[in-house]
């Protein structure tokens, strides 16, 4: 079979729900597309650690301290799982980290923004993780089987994070006026990035990731799903969603909303977000500061002096 015929057969296979394993033959296009998708996901988990990490030391009671440390630990774990999948597609971990820190690869917009208070911790754990899980729930059916299996584990762990986040928010909403104000203020700041998170609507006919079933739903479907589940849950707490145009159209069966600022999204994911460079620098410093440890562990043992 020549390569074109082989590629055609491959795409027919994945298009009809077939699975691909790490050591199967793949067309270069497909391999590159999966790698790009997984690498961005891995990068996002790794960078996503940083906004919340600040609050680990500041958690206001013992149980929250445990829960937040555990959540951030899970995100690191997810990064490890996803980098492993990407490594098996042929790209070394060091190279992926270098590309991330050099700005050659991206991570999701939400992780480029600052956190201002404990309320942010609740809002992020609840809504950012929820928006992520809406995307991720479409992925356990990915054509690329190692990624699909990893996503099953990740989705289960994320579901706990969302419950933790909602619990933090609920506790504050049932608390003092000052706490409620903090939550509303956090929501006001995070709503824009959340709406941008799933990305602009794409033309399904041109979306290769959809065709090759690397992912199963398009960006707009994901955003609609997020709104359907979470807007009512925000409203029922007496919170205001900072978008006057937000409403559900029964007849059309969809949500109307103010068009997210796609320029902002583009600018942020290319490294111009409020915290982009600072966080990349922080990661760079962490990597360089600890290089001696990796050299010691991964290098051959040297006879003690």
């Amino acid at each position: 079979m020549n390569e074109t015929a082989q590629a055609d057969a491959f795409y027919a296979h994945v298009g009809s729900g077939g699975k691909v394993e790490a050591d199967d033959w793949m067309p270069d296009d497909y391999r590159a597309a999966v790698l790009k998708f997984v690498e961005m996901h891995a990068n996002s988990e790794l960078m996503g650690v940083l906004p919340e990490r600040e609050w680990i030391l500041r958690a206001p009671n013992l149980r929250r301290k445990l829960a937040l440390t555990s959540k951030v630990q899970d995100e690191v774990g997810h990064a490890q799982l996803l980098y492993r999948v990407a490594e098996d597609l042929g790209k070394p971990r060091d190279q992926m980290l270098a590309d991330l820190l050099d700005g050659k690869t991206k991570f999701h917009n939400v992780f480029h923004y600052p956190t201002a208070s404990w309320a942010d911790v609740g809002i992020i754990a609840w809504l950012v993780d929820a928006a992520a899980i809406v995307s991720q729930q479409a992925l356990p059916d990915s054509s690329y089987a190692p990624y699909a299996r990893t996503m099953k584990k990740i989705c289960w762990e994320e579901s706990v994070h969302i419950m933790h986040g909602r619990d933090v928010v609920l506790t504050m909403m049932n608390g003092t006026d000052a706490q409620r104000a903090l939550v509303q203020e956090a929501l006001d700041r995070w709503w824009g990035p959340l709406m941008q998170m799933h990305g602009p609507p794409t033309d399904p006919a041109k979306d290769k990731d959809l065709h090759w079933r690397i992912k199963a739903k398009n960006n707009e479907q994901l955003r609609q799903e997020f709104l359907s589940i979470y807007v009512p849950r925000l409203w029922e707490l007496g919170l205001t969603v900072p978008d006057a145009a937000l409403r559900h159209d029964e007849a059309e069966g969809r949500w109307h909303y103010t068009e997210p600022d796609w320029d902002e999204l583009r600018s942020v994911v290319t490294g111009h977000g409020p915290k982009s460079q600072e966080r990349l620098e922080f990661r760079r410093l962490a990597r360089d500061t600890n290089q001696w440890v990796r050299d010691a562990i991964i290098g051959p043992a040297v006879a003690a002096a």
Partner: protein, 255 residues
């Protein structure tokens, strides 16, 4: 110390604070440890410490009709009773490994004794904690060995860290107010000096076997300074500011 109950409270506070403060320092590694796999492992260890601290605080809260979170988060820096070993910041990986190695063995020695405590709640908690400490001991024995065997910069950093923290490590066994009462009541089955020597008997041979620094015999024989659990520094003051920041931001609020 007027009563055995007060002495018991001192003991519980000391142990809870050791676990609490160390758990906090090491939780800082979450997200930035040398390797992703190690990041997850280290985070588990930190969470275990906070879990143990929580258990001791809850036991103490039961005795003093107080609240565990209030005890944990509600004191000024001078009110904490952790060993001077925990005053130090996370510093670097070698320091963390050195501190952890010494502390895990100290904690294991302490828990082994307390598992025989005449006071059942302590005996039961100590027995449970020992089971979780199995992993901690394995983990830090491994890292001590790996860094030492790697030689070069790794060994140098480790050796320097050990030299730096030996005096403060002794403070885990610093004298406690009312210790005599606890020993005679069997609440503390072995006195702290005995435990300290037992700890040294564990760690010194391991370190000597790896040709890592240990204090000279004369220094080891001398009991730790009386302020081993009361002296504080700027690093801890900073940590205290961090961990009380949100807790104190809204008087009486529930989080």
């Amino acid at each position: 110390m007027d009563t055995t109950r007060e002495a018991l409270a001192e003991l519980l506070l000391a142990m809870a604070d050791d676990e609490f403060v160390l758990g906090f320092w090491d939780s800082e590694w979450t997200g930035i440890a040398p390797m992703l796999e190690e990041d997850v492992a280290m985070s588990s260890v930190s969470q275990d410490e906070i879990g143990h601290a929580k258990a001791w605080y809850e036991l103490l809260a039961g005795l003093t009709d107080d609240d565990a979170d209030e005890i944990a988060f509600g004191r000024e820096p001078a009110g904490y009773r952790h060993a001077a070993l925990m005053n130090h910041a996370r510093t670097d990986w070698a320091f963390t490994v050195a501190r952890r190695f010494l502390y895990e063995h100290a904690d294991a020695t302490r828990l082994e004794s307390l598992a025989r405590s005449s006071y059942t709640p302590i005996a039961e908690l100590a027995a449970k904690m020992r089971r979780e400490e199995t992993y901690h001991l394995l983990h830090f024995d491994l890292w001590l060995r790996r860094l030492a065997d790697a030689g070069g910069e790794a060994r140098d950093r480790l050796a320097a860290a050990l030299e730096r923290i030996w005096p403060d490590a002794q403070a885990v066994f610093a004298p406690l107010d009312g210790e005599a009462r606890l020993v005679s009541a069997g609440i503390l089955p072995d006195d702290l000096e005995t435990l300290r020597h037992r700890w040294l008997d564990r760690v010194v041979p391991i370190l000597e076997g790896l040709r890592l620094p240990v204090p000279p015999e004369a220094e080891r024989a001398a009991p730790p300074a009386g302020d081993g659990r009361t002296r504080r520094n700027d690093d801890f003051a900073w940590l205290h500011g961090e961990f009380t920041m949100v807790a104190r931001s809204d008087e009486g609020a529930t989080w």
